[in-house]
Symmetry: D3
Subunit: 136 residues, 6 copies
């Protein structure tokens, strides 16, 4: 009996969307307001889900407390109140779009989830824009 | 790396559920209050999702601004503050249930989404009733 | 010790905003899309609050179940799945704007609330537009 | 054209997480605060979804009113304002974790859904913790 | 320039509503399902607000971090995952209705808020039932 | 009959909390993570309310469309996707705490609201932190 367990978390961060190799006019055309060189920011809402078998004894797929602590250690402590472009190494050469942030979060969490379980990441950049990544 | 990007939108509309070929008693039995001949209405909340590969250069699956504009042009401008039965041609001979509205929205958006990407439509008729359509 | 107790409810309805004595051009200028002669509609969310002293014995200001039943009998049964202009007598000669609907709801509930208690009505026409009325 | 229709419901209940065969220290280590012998409780939010073909005539996959009544009869009447461990027979020998509650809900609803339709249950234990079960 | 700053928090608890001096029939008549002798429970959502002058230097009425820590120490640590009737001393002889819980929370927080500031407590027992208390 | 009409809006921005005249250690002690010199950011949710008499003819206190346009022109266009410290003149010498931002928004909107009407601003910095300002 496979069940998906999900835990919500959140972090606040600043970012800027632009391609270093492009000139300013092209960046402005593609990224518009998100290309502001002084940065803007978001309250990112995160939903991390793990799909696996229910443990017969505990009734858990995964202890939600463990999942909560893992998200805090790997994601919140690394991203919260940070400038993603300048202070999070994964984005030194990767545009911090919602899509790319979701992939980075998935890659950071995957090694900590048991191999036979599946992992899904949903990231809300705003209450109206969000992305979902379930792995390669 | 396939990611699903989602955008929320909304429109307000009036509708009535009834089958023209049925007598009033049958319509009342099947559709109850929704068969009110003077219409009733809803704030429809819409979530449109597109699944595809992240563009290596822009970090986007699809520019959310483009998706937002597409939903406005194709759906909001056509449905918002309208009587679905009387003023939206797709429902001239189709009951505007949440299920059928979702299919109509999907059909209207599909030609505007790149062929190698998948499209999903979620439509909330009320905060407690909603439907999901991912294509035929 | 005065405490305010609040109960949420909801109803779906169709309406049209226009002044019968005005010509069509003026109605269109003032009410825009809301003047659609074929009606449009909303999921109205309602919050009814009663402020009063806590009953020492029961610990209640007012039994929430009683308040819930009152809202159902007086408001939901009268407004839900209705065309406000055509089927709710209070709006035969009163434009069903959110402001006026809130006042009508307050007036309908007030006689059923104990005299020494205060009544407040909040009405959401959409998740982004709402009104509050606390009496004359 | 397969569409998934979803209906939200809710119930409030008390529960305790512990394994009868374990000693107190082990229960405390595994379940922490959830092992409180005097119980604690939650507002459970439930989303039940049914996936199937749209009926050509009615435009419905399943009448939402029927689904609402089914959830009330099978789940809300059995679980609401109850102590899950002591008053719901399914948990006499099954720990009422969110995972197990979701499976029990699915098992109780499945016989009432037409065989060619699929059933999904999402259960929120808190706004930040939830589980999804789609069957064995 | 007086500004009201608000912080949301939450706790989960079990409770039972009944008057010890009443017989079972009267308790059942007044409190219905809430009188379940085996308890039921809720996810309580709490909004604590402090009204006061903005500090010219820091731009704060009160550091939200301080308010968050205060709510945790005084309320969450005392109430979370507890049986309010049996494990929270304030309710040994006081029915834990939402009204009374809000008053108890206000009384516990008031001594920790500067005297010239006002305190408000909003407590959601469910998403549809909530109470507000601003002091005697 | 005075009614309060409310309109929600939102903007995304980056900011940093620090006092220019303080040394780094003091800023860090008072503002903690919010003192990040590379900025962080938020999705600010804004609720603007106007209290006044209902116009007998239109049924409006104030046309919500007018209020929406006013918020866009005065607040969203000035703050959205901006760095509040560097790009919004009002914060050149004022710390952009939620409290101060709410006061600045109130001051910018007040001249555009009719004199006999009252104005209220609620600003959510995160879903758990928000402030309310009703004027001096």
């Amino acid at each position: 009996m496979k069940v998906k367990v999900s835990r919500k978390a959140h972090f606040n961060a600043a970012h800027r969307l632009y391609v270093k190799d492009w000139d300013e006019a092209t960046n402005q055309e593609v990224f518009g307001k998100c290309n502001n060189p002084h940065y803007h920011g978001h309250n990112y809402e995160l939903v991390v889900s793990v799909l696996g078998d229910i443990d017969k004894e505990t009734g858990y797929v995964m202890d939600m407390k463990t999942l909560k602590d893992l998200i805090k250690a790997e994601i919140e402590d690394a991203f919260d109140h940070k400038n993603l472009n300048l202070q999070v190494p994964e984005f030194a050469n990767l545009i911090p779009t919602a899509e790319n942030i979701a992939v980075v979060i998935w890659d950071k969490l995957r090694p900590h989830i048991e191999e036979d379980k599946k992992l899904e990441v949903i990231l809300y950049e705003t209450p109206r824009n969000f992305v979902t990544y379930t792995g390669p």
